[in-house]
Structure formats: structure tokens, C-alpha cells
């Protein structure tokens, strides 16, 4: 604007409303002269003339303050006051009249300045607010257009008031403004199985109707160009300060590729699972058959070898299961059954089974019998096997292992205590992480993939329980897990 002003003559410059000096100057002087002449024309009372001038000048100051802000108002007020002084001096007032004139002018000047300050400040504040709102609108618009997801904003009737470019890109067509998400034929609900398009299916519409946000709804849609897509829709309500719903915003993401990758991963997982488990199944059966033969022939050495082969096959089986469990956890495919059972009897069975695998340890069970819990029996057994085999693995020097189940208010706390190498404080924080393994004082490593405690933690947490450890390096460790007596649904 300033650059343009340079090329304009003074009068044109005044018209631009940018100048806070010339316009008030000219306006005040001419107004005062005009009003003075006019006033003298209709009334000869100087008091009335004075009033006219004072009010008209005040009106001008208000106008300039409002137009140009505090500074404009100030300049206008100062010019006016200076003009009053000029009048007082040029009219050759004397004595009392002169002092009264000066006093009145100073008082008026102060009032004018106050007016300029208040009105000017108001004007500037309003400008700022309007400016900020306008800026915010521009920012939001820019961000919305740059988003990698489609956006639909509807009014509280379900009619589109705003969309972005990405939406057009995803849907392969433009949804015009005013398009009714619930009523008009909607590309998002032309489902692949050609189910009828019920207005209530529209998440946008549903959000508006139920007053609740819709999260992560997935739709399979077919675009006009024949391409099949999977889109995910999240809808939420926009309310004004009085909490009244004024609009609904929906985010549409194209998750086709993600779904395809997930499917490929699942397929691979199933295939790998099948392919790995089949030879293990066969191997285990041949080992059992061989054992039968060996028992008939009673060859001690061959029986020992057969046992060793059997142990390795079991290890392979456990590792395969662990790997598959981790994959399932990561793809959210870790499923649980729920049944009521006595955890004490599961502990008993597990201890009996694992006692057979170690000659150097004696496992003791403490605590009450018959502790009913509702959980996945196999998964809890899996956690117990894991904690007990860790206790055996990490306590080659310690002979004793204690397993205890205690009831504490609304939960059962199971603990497995060993007197082995123990875990340092820094290691304690990491042991429940995936692939983490404890080393002993000589940094000796132990066999395994480092998945057992990670899987156990996932299992216990999915049962709304907790798993933790207390340990002193060199003295042994106690692992605890808690299970609520009643599992909350979902």
C-alpha cells in the first residue's frame, strides 16, 4: 500500500484511508471554519456556536479513531486542540475570558484524547480478532487441502459444506457442496456386495443422529472406475460454545494397501505356521515310534539318544509356537478362550510336568487349593511354563523353586521364586520387552529367543492382570502375576 501511495497526489492519498495526518488536519480546519460561519449565520450566541464546534469535532475524532485506530484519533484530537488555541490567541481574548478559553480547551483536549484512546483501542482489538479469525481460516483451509486423508465437513443436517482434494482423489469423483450424506446416492455406501443403501449406514449421518462419534468404521467400496477400495471413516461432531451441534467432520482414509499387506502377512503366517508345524508333528511321532522299538530291545544308550532327540523336537515346537504367538500379537490376532477353572490344579499339572525335565531342582507348591479364575486355561498354563522354565534355566546353582498362589481381595497372585543368578535393576526394566535376554555376571548368555516374558506379559495384560518381578542380583528372582477373579467383559 505504501508503495502505491508514493505515486498518488496528496488528495488521492487522503482517499486511501491510510493517512492519519492530512485528512484530520484538513477536515478539522474546514469543518471548524464552516461550522463557525454556519453557526453565526443562524445564531449569534457564541455559546451555541461553541457547542456546535465541540460536538462536530468530537464526532470527527470518533470517526478517525474508529477508522485509523488510537494514533489517528490522537492526531485528530491534537490538531483540533491546536486549532482551538489558534482561535483563542487570534481573537485577542483577554483576562478572565482568555483563561476560561484555555481551561476549556485543555479540558476538551483531554476528553478528545480519552475518546481517541478508547475508540481507537476498541477498533484495534476488533481488527485483531477479525484478522486472527481470518488467518485461522486460511491456515485450516491450507492444512485441510494438504492432508493425505479425505475430509468431509457437513452441516448439522448432513449436507456437505466442505471437502478437500484428497477426498476427490480417493473417491475418484467430486462430492458437490450441498450433497446430502444421508439421503443422496452416496459413493461411500455403494458397497461391493451391493447391499441396499440405507441412510443410517452413513457414519456421518449416524454421528449426527446418535450424537456420538464413529471411530474406525471400514467400508468396502467400488469406485465408478471399477476400482475396489477399503476406506476407513472416522466421524465426529463439531459443537459451538453452547455445546450445540453445528457440524460433523469425517476423515476418510484409503486403507486398501494396508489391508492387502495385512492379508499377505496373515497368509504368510498361516502358511509358515503350517509348513513349520507339519514336519515337527511327523518328527515327534517317529521319535515316539522309535522309543517303542528301543524299549522292546532295551538299549539304554539308544533310549538316551532318543530322549535327547525328543527334547530337541519339543524345543523346536515351543520356539515355533512362540514365534507365531509374537506375530499374532503384532497383528492383533492373539485370540483367547474364556473358561472357569481352578488355577491351583493348573499350577499342580505344570509343576509336575516341568519337574520331570530337571533333575537338579525341586519345585515346591504353596498356597490354597481350588482357586477359581475365569481365563484362557492354555494361555495361563503357557505363562506358568514360561516362568518355571526360566526359574530352572537361570538357577543352575539353586536347588529350590517355590510356586505360590494367593488370593488378594479381587485377584489371585501367583508367584514363582528361584534362588539363581537374579536380575539387576536396569535389566528388570527391560526383561518384559521383546527379544530381551538376561545375562549373568560373566555375561554368559542363555538359550532361547527372548520372547517368553514378552508373550507372558501380553497374555496377562489381555486378562486385565499384571506381571512383575522382584529380584536381587546373585540371590534369585520372584516373578508375580495377578489375575482378576472376574474378568471384565470385552
Amino acid at each position: 500500500m505504501n508503495r502505491i501511495n508514493r505515486y498518488l497526489n496528496p488528495i488521492e492519498r487522503l482517499g486511501n484511508g491510510e493517512n492519519s495526518f492530512f485528512l484530520p488536519l484538513i477536515a478539522n480546519i474546514s469543518l471548524s471554519i464552516l461550522s463557525e460561519m454556519y453557526a453565526y449565520g443562524i445564531a449569534h450566541n457564541p455559546m451555541i456556536v461553541g457547542m456546535y464546534i465541540i460536538f462536530l469535532n468530537a464526532a470527527f475524532i470518533i470517526y478517525f479513531s474508529f477508522r485509523d485506530g488510537v494514533l489517528g484519533g490522537f492526531i485528530s484530537a491534537i490538531i483540533t486542540v491546536l486549532y482551538y488555541f489558534y482561535i483563542i490567541y487570534t481573537r485577542h481574548y483577554s483576562g478572565q475570558q482568555f483563561t476560561a478559553g484555555v481551561d476549556t480547551t485543555i479540558m476538551l483536549g483531554l476528553i478528545y484524547l480519552m475518546l481517541a484512546l478508547i475508540i481507537g483501542w476498541l477498533k484495534q482489538t476488533i481488527d485483531k480478532l477479525i484478522g486472527r479469525e481470518a488467518n485461522e481460516k486460511i491456515w485450516l483451509q491450507t492444512i485441510m487441502q494438504q492432508l493425505a486423508v479425505g475430509v468431509i465437513i457437513t452441516d448439522n443436517k448432513g449436507r456437505i459444506v466442505q471437502t478437500n482434494k484428497q477426498l476427490e482423489h480417493i473417491l475418484g469423483m467430486k462430492l458437490p457442496l450441498g450433497f446430502h450424506m444421508g439421503r443422496d446416492s452416496n459413493p461411500l455406501f455403494t458397497t461391493m456386495d451391493n447391499k441396499p443403501k440405507v441412510p443410517a449406514q452413513s457414519t456421518f449421518y449416524q454421528t449426527l443422529k446418535t450424537n456420538k462419534p464413529v471411530v474406525g468404521r471400514e467400508f468396502s467400496i467400488q469406485r465408478k472406475d471399477g476400482k475396489n477400495l477399503v476406506v476407513q471413516v472416522n466421524s465426529s461432531l463439531i459443537r459451538n460454545k453452547k455445546k450445540k451441534v453445528i457440524a460433523a467432520a469425517s476423515i476418510i482414509s484409503d486403507i486398501t494397501q494396508q489391508k492387502e499387506l495385512e492379508r499377505q502377512k496373515d497368509d504368510f503366517l498361516s502358511m509358515a505356521s503350517h509348513e513349520l508345524k507339519t514336519p515337527i508333528t511327523s518328527l515327534k511321532m517317529f521319535i515316539d515310534l522309535q522309543r517303542q522299538q528301543l524299549e522292546e530291545k532295551n538299549s539304554q544308550k539308544a533310549k538316551y539318544f532318543n530322549e535327547r532327540i525328543g527334547d530337541q523336537a519339543n524345543r523346536l515346537k515351543e520356539l515355533t509356537n512362540d514365534l507365531l504367538d509374537v506375530s499374532r500379537i503384532q497383528t492383533n490376532k492373539f485370540r483367547f478362550n474364556s473358561e472357569e477353572f481352578d488355577i491351583a490344579s493348573v499350577i499342580h499339572d505344570t509343576v509336575e510336568g516341568l519337574q520331570g525335565t530337571t533333575k537338579g531342582h525341586e519345585i515346591f507348591i504353596k498356597g490354597a487349593k481350588n482357586q477359581q479364575v475365569r481365563a484362557d486355561r492354555y494361555r495361563i498354563y503357557q505363562v506358568l511354563v514360561n516362568l518355571l522354565s526360566n526359574a530352572i534355566k537361570y538357577s543352575s546353582a539353586g536347588k529350590k523353586i517355590l510356586v505360590e498362589a494367593k488370593r488378594d481381595k479381587d485377584e489371585i497372585i501367583v508367584s514363582v521364586q528361584d534362588f539363581g543368578i537374579g536380575i539387576s535393576k536396569t535389566q528388570q526394566e527391560k526383561i518384559f520387552e521383546r527379544l530381551y535376554q538376561v545375562t549373568d555376571t560373566q555375561e554368559k548368555t542363555f538359550p532361547g529367543l527372548g520372547l517368553g516374558l514378552y508373550i507372558s506379559k501380553q497374555i496377562i495384560e489381555r486378562h486385565k492382570g499384571k506381571i512383575w518381578v522382584k529380584s536381587t542380583k546373585g540371590k534369585g528372582s520372584t516373578f508375580f502375576f495377578s489375575l482378576p477373579l472376574r474378568i471384565p467383559k470385552g
Binding site: 508345524k277 507339519t278 511321532m285
Partner: protein
């Protein structure tokens, strides 16, 4: 008379030891590796129990189970499905199989299950 078990699995490395184990337990065993032969073999062998793999190349064990269970003639035939597939257990209960065992299984567990079902 010995109870008769028909084993169906497309993997011969499973079929062979499985048959040997069941025979050594005193069952009369017949084994086939092609799913499509099941119906005719049931007619000729008349098994008491069918040990059926789910995912076989060419045939789906679930489809066989569904067909068998639909036919009244096979009502008394006990079907135990087996699979190494992670989601197979849920499938098998939905189609009327009498039980399911996940591969890899412990031989002892399989024998206990068969014994229980044949009682």
C-alpha cells in the same frame, strides 16, 4: 473286534507314523492321502472314527466333514479334525466335527482323545 480308524492327510510323512502309532495301540487303521477318496473308503472300510486333516491340497477337510455330517448314514461316525493352521480350531467346531487336535500334538494326547471319543 478292534475299532476302526480312517486317517486322512495329504502329507505322507504324517500319515505313515500316525498309522503305525494307531496300529501299535491295537486299532485297525486305514490311511488315505487323497481327500476325494474318503467317501468311497468310508463305504468299504466302515470306520468308527475319522481322523481328518483340514487343509489338504486339492480338498478341504472342512468340506468333507460337512458333507459327511449332512448324511444320516454317517451319523455315528466320529470325526476328529486336525490341523497346524492357527485358526482351524474355530472352523472345525462350526461344521460339526466331534473334536479337534492341533498339530504338532503329543502322541499321548492324541491317543487319549481317540480313546475317550470311542468309548
Amino acid at each position: 473286534m478292534n475299532k476302526k480308524i480312517l486317517v486322512v492327510d495329504d502329507d505322507k510323512d504324517i500319515l505313515e507314523p500316525l498309522s503305525l502309532i494307531l496300529e501299535s495301540e491295537g486299532y485297525a487303521v486305514d490311511a488315505i492321502s487323497k481327500g476325494k477318496d474318503v467317501y468311497s473308503r468310508i463305504g468299504s472300510f466302515k470306520p468308527d472314527l475319522l481322523l481328518l486333516d483340514i487343509f489338504m491340497s486339492g480338498t478341504d477337510g472342512r468340506e468333507i466333514c460337512r458333507m459327511l455330517k449332512r448324511n444320516n448314514k454317517n451319523k455315528s461316525l466320529i470325526v476328529i479334525m486336525m490341523s497346524a493352521h492357527p485358526t482351524a480350531e474355530k472352523d472345525s467346531t462350526n461344521i460339526g466335527a466331534d473334536d479337534f487336535i492341533a498339530k504338532p500334538f503329543e502322541t499321548a494326547d492324541l491317543l487319549t482323545l481317540i480313546e475317550k471319543k470311542l468309548q
